[in-house]
């Protein structure tokens, strides 16, 4: 019974985070800071997915920018079209070629429902195809990491090179409204924060359920002894595929919300460097712990904004240094401090008892 209770304990943590984000933060933070926090929440969603794929599944996904971009560009196209109104054409396209018609693949994104569907369906389809090809061929370890990273590079290059259709390096921007809500209104921006924070809490609940489920056990088993899992009658490729797809969907949702919050989506938000930045927060926070990736991503996001404002250029070195220190001194990330502390306490107590009985 106690073990059963224990497995629900993390829900309390999720509830605490939900209260901090949904009640406390809006009450104490300025509009600007709240908007920044919303941005970190987007990165945190990507991080929860990475925690699942990498922390629990052992797949070092170095190209989550690909899925981040799928959601972000879907949302960006929709908001761009919404901003120019019925039948309108995005300004960057007109600047490029005043007579060009709207590219066919943009057209369906006029529909909000289609856009929301694509934010989920596109990463599922892309990650399934990619994952199937990768895992059935038994590509793993460093090869897997490099391959995913290469995909992020390729997609960023593709977007940069197709200015006519995607806005290229300048990206998509100049949005004025989000599903009918004007972005000028601070109240609406707070609404967007609330949606984002709620989605993040949702991602955490999904991760919590997956971790405690039999699938979670199987995923850890696959991470630790992939070939052995075959002898339980499972194809490990399928198990990894599920985790990879779920992680992709989380990254895509994070990317989608990033667009109304930041107001611009360009390749530099999803390229190789951005993809590594996603990983850094997860590694710092603790990749296998439920809360490690979220807290790590929020902290790194915060550090990025504040430190890079004060000492531009230094931040990346601070992050690099932190990364090295944590991976060497604390491989389980900052989240492992809690369990280490508990372990130390228990040891102290038992040695006390021994001393007392002696």
């Amino acid at each position: 019974m106690t073990t059963k209770l224990k497995s629900f304990l993390p829900l309390l943590g999720i509830a605490a985070l939900a209260i901090a984000l949904l009640v406390v933060a809006p009450a104490v933070l300025s509009d600007l800071r709240l908007n920044n926090l919303a941005k970190y929440c987007c990165w945190a969603m990507v991080a929860v997915g990475i925690g699942l794929a990498w922390g629990r599944g052992g797949m070092l996904v170095m190209g989550q920018g690909v899925f981040f971009a799928l959601g972000a560009y879907a949302m960006g196209m929709h908001m761009q079209l919404e901003s120019v109104g019925d039948g309108g054409i995005p300004t960057f396209m007109i600047l490029y070629d005043p007579l060009a018609p709207l590219p066919a693949f943009w057209e369906p994104f006029r529909s909000g429902a289609f856009t929301i569907a694509m934010i989920v369906v596109a990463p599922v389809v892309v990650a399934s195809i990619l994952g199937f090809a990768i895992f059935k061929r038994r590509v793993k370890g460093a090869y897997f990491a490099i391959l995913t990273q290469a995909l992020a590079v390729a997609l960023a290059t593709l977007i940069s090179g197709t200015i006519k259709y995607t806005g290229g390096d300048t990206g998509l921007s100049g949005f004025t409204s989000f599903f009918g809500y004007t972005l000028d209104d601070p109240l609406n921006r707070r609404l967007i924060f609330t949606i984002t924070a709620t989605l993040l809490v949702g991602c955490l609940v999904v991760a919590w359920q997956l971790y405690r489920s039999r699938f979670g056990e199987l995923l850890v088993a696959t991470r630790d002894a992939e070939e052995r899992v075959r002898f339980l009658g499972y194809d490990p490729a399928n198990i990894k595929l599920v985790a990879f797809v779920v992680a992709a969907v989380m990254a895509s949702i994070g990317g989608a919300m990033f667009v109304p919050i930041v107001g611009i989506m360009a390749p530099k938000s999803m390229d190789a460097a951005a993809s590594i930045f996603f990983i850094a927060g997860v590694a710092l926070g603790g990749r296998a712990a439920l809360f490690g990736p979220v807290l790590g991503a929020l902290a790194v996001g915060y550090g990025q904004s504040t430190l890079s404002e004060q000492w531009p250029g230094t931040w990346i070195y601070v992050l690099g240094l932190l990364f090295i220190v944590v991976t060497i001194a604390l491989p389980g990330g900052i989240a492992s401090l809690a369990t280490r502390g508990a372990g130390l306490l228990a040891r102290l107590r038992s040695s006390d008892r021994k001393a007392a009985s002696a």
Partner: protein
């Protein structure tokens, strides 16, 4: 011999060969494994015992045929072979160290559950898991991570995993190697108990253990089957004596 070959639930291996870059680790092996007997596979180091089992469980490619329950096993992938009812353990115990004994058994039982149930947590202990815990004597250690188990206990856990998997054919690769005398005796008892309605094939070097528990012994040497029969028949076989006497100290087979 003939009636064993005709057993409807026997695993029939015909002309099985495995080569590694031209080196024939297993060549032209014919053997049948039938339910209800403890079948031992013995032979000197490098004889091809593990490779034979590897081929039958999809770990290495083999030529020839191996049919079980109307299915051809060669060419199937490992997880399909497991689902066909053929399971195995490994020479070095490979349990999932991070998971508890209970979790190890529970995920092994998973292949009989529909896939969607993976999305949910375990509630209580499934009956098959409880039964297996009892049989392998690890009930008291159910909440311990498998990584902390002693060598022998890990081997039992692996057998337990085959039990909940409900493997009808079990290949056990040097399960009792490194166990104490007591543990060996217990393992022997366990195998007898679970072997009544299953096909159990044990790879073993320890001749005392073989003598105490074998119903049928197949001797392999240099990739081929050298002899097959009861313990007495094997001990009387001159070819077998020659192979063993040529390699190891006198009396290993006799004693």
């Amino acid at each position: 011999m003939t009636e064993r070959h005709l057993h409807p639930d026997a695993l029939l291996v015909r002309d099985l060969s495995v080569s590694f870059d031209g080196f024939k680790a297993v060549s032209g092996v014919d053997v049948s494994f039938a339910p209800g007997e403890l079948h031992f596979l013995i032979g000197p180091n490098g004889a091809g015992k593990t490779t034979l089992v590897d081929a039958l469980t999809g770990l290495v490619k083999g030529t020839g045929s191996a049919s079980y329950g109307g299915k051809e096993l060669l060419g199937l992938r490992s997880h399909k072979i497991v689902r066909a009812g053929v399971g195995r353990t490994f020479q070095t115990a490979t349990v999932f160290d991070q998971l508890t004994v209970l979790q190890n058994l529970d995920i092994a039982a998973g292949l009989h559950r529909p896939a969607w149930r993976l999305a949910f947590a375990r509630h209580g202990v499934p009956a098959a898991v409880d039964e297996a815990l009892e049989k392998i004597g690890l009930s008291d250690l159910r909440h311990k991570p498998a990584g902390v188990l002693a060598h022998g206990q890990k081997q039992w856990l692996e057998i337990g995993m085959l039990l909940v998997q409900d493997a009808r054919v079990m290949f056990l690769d040097e399960t009792v190697a490194g166990m104490s005398a007591d543990e060996r005796a217990e393992t022997g008892e366990l195998l007898r108990r679970i072997g009544r309605e299953r096909t159990i094939v044990v790879i073993e070097h320890d001749m005392d253990f073989v003598r105490n528990h074998a119903d049928v012994v197949t001797v392999m040497h240099a990739g081929k089957v050298l002899a097959e029969g009861s313990v007495a028949e094997i001990q009387a076989n001159e070819a077998v004596q020659e192979v063993y006497l040529g390699r190891t100290a006198k009396g290993n087979v006799h004693a």
